[in-house]
């Protein structure tokens, strides 16, 4: 999931050929408010998970790794 999320950010949101790893700082790479909105939509579509505004923190969205952890947590909570 980490890699898939990174690819979404890289190709659909940041539109960059620069390499990104799951640990890359996405805000330093150019992720902004509008990019976050696009990312939320992509997460909803690909992983069938809706992110609550309360979870929208810089900490949770700083890297692909952390976003993947958040999404996985939401998926687990939904399947309980």
């Amino acid at each position: 999931m980490e890699q898939e999320l990174i690819e979404i950010v890289r190709t659909e949101i940041l539109d960059t050929s620069d390499p990104l790893t799951p640990q890359s700082d996405l805000f330093a790479a150019g992720l902004d408010s509008m990019g976050i909105m696009q990312l939320l939509l992509a997460i909803e579509e690909k992983f069938a998970v809706a992110i609550d505004p309360a979870d929208l923190s810089r900490e949770n969205f700083s890297t692909g790794e952390k976003i993947a952890a958040l999404v996985a947590g939401k998926q687990a909570a939904a399947s309980r």
Binding site: G30, M34, M37, L41, P53, L56
Partner: protein, 445 residues
């Protein structure tokens, strides 16, 4: 230096086409020109020789800075005629405040200079001559202002950021490749692609969107008010935002604050109506700054209609805005909007506003809004002086008659209110500022 016969005509994007339509509306109704001022407040004293050297290099390397915008007789699409432009320096004008023993023309204040810039006639995109002017104003012995006057038909705030980054680098002011021209698709094909957006626009009249433009009243001068919140106030605004809508949805949050403030004034003006707000969010299509051209607007407008119910409270307003944005994206309306703009780029400028006037009861939108994020990220000095503050002041047209813009520099949020005389009474301005203050959680002077 004479005009270069080899300079190509630069493609004008379809966003530029829309802005040309707006420029045409403003000129037809004696509202001046669609101009903007970018203000940098700098520490120290200006090094005029250095500024003039950079202005000369910039103007000579970028003929578009002296080009005029003209519709082609072949396909009617507007292009920048760089082949007719002289390669001249960007003009540098020097000013001084009362009592200052410095060179230049006298001006009462920085605000007065900005007012002159956005109401000026020095920049005319329909004629050869400067489309960008530098104004230098020493404010004290330790501070000065660089005001860049520019045409909105030449670039947007993202392009201006890129230009400022080039100016800060100074050495790298070489010309860039012109934006690639897209082929003119048949109108019938574009109409099919644009149809979902046309259908969407047909739904707008029943929601009675309103702006602050008073029908029948001739709008006057462009006015503005800039508020720079200090670090403590900015932190308080950020904390309130995080508690209300999360830390990251800056654009929908600030757009909701702006929409609620305008709606408060409209509700006071029409107490018996449940007026809706039609918000057009300009969003850059190119996320990667390296792919954005220096000149040309590359925005995609996302049209969001917020009802009186949506706007009743700030938190649900932000959620409603996000929900409607998501719906706009899911229905792939940006593609339809882009096709509509490409269809319109071949129409005479005055046709541009026709859909707005037909489907939106004479309103283009309820307000202009943008959140440009950090002001000049990664740059802390210009011409050897530390940047103490920076903000944009665009002029707006009526309709809608008002614009509310946000940006941030070094942890300080700046808010620019721009409006047209005649669209906002002093009492209405107070109500607008009060509503904004309450929502932001910091006082507006």
């Amino acid at each position: 230096m004479p005009a270069s016969p080899t300079s190509p005509a630069l493609h004008t994007t379809c966003s530029d086409g829309f802005l040309l339509g707006l420029e045409s509306l403003m000129r037809r109704t004696s509202q001046g020109r669609h101009l903007a001022a970018t203000v940098l407040e700098l520490e120290g004293t200006p090094d005029l020789e250095r500024i003039r050297r950079v202005a000369e290099k910039l103007g000579k390397n970028h003929p578009i800075l002296h080009a005029r915008n003209e519709r082609s007789k072949k396909d009617w699409i507007a292009r920048w005629r760089t082949d007719l432009a002289s390669r001249e320096a960007v003009p540098v004008k020097l000013w001084h405040l009362p009592g200052a023993a410095t060179a230049g023309e006298g001006i009462p204040s920085l605000d007065e200079l900005i007012g002159q810039v956005i109401n000026g006639t020095d920049i005319d995109i329909h004629a050869s001559g400067p489309n960008l002017i530098f104004h230098v104003l020493p404010l004290s012995t330790a501070r000065w202002a660089l005001v860049l006057a520019w045409s909105h038909s030449l670039m947007d705030a993202v392009g201006m950021t890129k230009l400022l980054q080039l100016l800060a680098a100074e050495a790298n002011l070489s010309a860039e490749s012109p934006p690639a021209a897209t082929h003119a698709s048949p109108v019938s094909e574009l109409y099919k692609q644009a149809y979902p957006m046309i259908e969407e626009m047909r739904k707008f009249p029943k929601w009675r969107p309103r702006s602050l433009h008073r029908k029948g009243a001739r709008p006057g001068k462009s006015r503005f008010h800039v508020t720079t919140f200090d670090r403590a106030e900015t932190a308080a605004i950020r904390a309130k935002m995080a508690a209300t809508a999360g830390e990251l949805l800056l654009l929908p949050y600030f757009a909701s604050c702006a929409a609620r403030a305008v709606q408060a004034v409209i509700s006071a003006r029409f107490p018996d109506e449940e007026a809706s707000i039609l918000l057009t969010l300009p969003v850059q299509r190119q996320s990667d700054p390296a792919k954005r051209p220096l000149f040309s607007n590359h925005m995609t407008p996302y049209t969001v209609l917020l009802t009186a119910d949506d706007l009743a409270e700030l938190k649900p307003a932000t959620s409603a805005l996000y929900r409607k944005y998501a719906d706009f994206m899911r229905r792939k309306l940006p593609v339809a909007m882009h096709a509509l703009m490409r269809m319109m780029e071949r129409c005479p400028s005055r046709f541009y506003n026709l859909p707005a006037f037909i489907y939106m009861r004479g309103e283009i939108c309820s307000l202009f809004h943008s959140h440009t994020g950090a002001f000049l990220p990664g740059v802390d000095s210009m011409f050897g002086c530390r940047i103490a503050n920076g903000y944009h002041v665009p002029s707006v047209s009526a309709p809608p008659g008002i614009g509310i813009f946000f940006s941030e520099h070094e942890g300080q949020l700046a808010l620019t209110l721009s409006w047209k005389d005649g669209c906002l009474s002093p009492l209405e301005l107070e109500l607008l500022k009060e509503t904004l203050s309450e929502d932001l959680g910091a006082p507006l002077p």
